[in-house]
Symmetry: C2
Subunit: 157 residues, 2 copies
């Protein structure tokens, strides 16, 4: 269960952009320095963000990037998907049951699917604005912290 740097950097950079953006574009050099990310690597990442329509670019001197939409209209899910192809959990379900154990759906098929959906749903509910305001903490709240063996009470009934 791992998160790679591309997704992480992308969200960090976008958050930085939302914060220091305001009016006019922000050059990558500034972001790279503030967030301590290699400039050349950031450039790669922003190409993808641009192609996904999440940022607009301005070339030449005093150029840079700015958000294509408001910070409350850009979700973390959108960023991660733009930068880092699949949020899927396994090749098992790309189409049909290809990667499953030969015959039918593997026993855990539905589990991974549910997990993937769950993560995506979570990230889809967090916007850049939330990140800046430290909201994600609150959003995660309704979860029981973990492993509470008592009366489990899994929703419904």
């Amino acid at each position: 269960m791992e998160l790679n740097t591309k997704g992480r950097y992308a969200v960090m950079a976008m958050a930085d952009l939302a914060k220091h953006g305001g009016h006019g574009s922000v050059p990558l050099t500034a972001i790279a320095e503030r967030q301590q990310i290699s400039l050349a690597y950031l450039e790669q990442i922003f190409q993808r963000l641009r192609r996904a329509g999440l940022v607009d670019s301005a070339r030449g001197r005093s150029g840079g990037y700015q958000l294509a939409r408001g910070p409350d209209e850009i979700t973390v899910a959108a960023i991660m998907q733009a930068v880092d192809e699949p949020v899927e959990m396994t090749r098992c379900m790309l189409d049909g049951l290809a990667g499953c154990v030969g015959s039918a759906k593997c026993l855990t098929h539905d589990l991974w699917r549910a997990l993937g959906d769950h993560i995506l749903a979570f990230l889809s509910r967090v916007t850049l604005r939330d990140v800046l305001e430290g909201e994600p903490g609150r959003i995660a709240m309704p979860m029981l912290s973990a492993r509470e063996p008592g009366p489990v009470e899994v929703a419904a009934e």
Copy 2:
């Protein structure tokens, strides 16, 4: 955002064990064949499961493994943690703010933390029994499928 084979195989194997277990132990050769996993690799995985107290082993001929507890007392989270050290999303928060951007918490610090908690909470609510019964689909339900800015209303009632 990726899931490695160790965690995946472990859950598949444990599900298989729960299904074909019943009474007496199940040899790894059987699981390996049914789930199409390399035997030698499975052995590694089961060492960890055993040390974590999730399975009991019986050596010698007609030996094998069986669940140490009932299928409804073993969560997917427990399995994944036994096999695959951290479910953490980044080194950023191992202790304190080590990996953060020099100074203070990085902007996305809380986000990754919330994501990690969220995933763990989800996996902690799914037991082996649920997996066998195809429940994980239902468990994931209380999530609104995505980006629903309306009244959030998660879990509870």
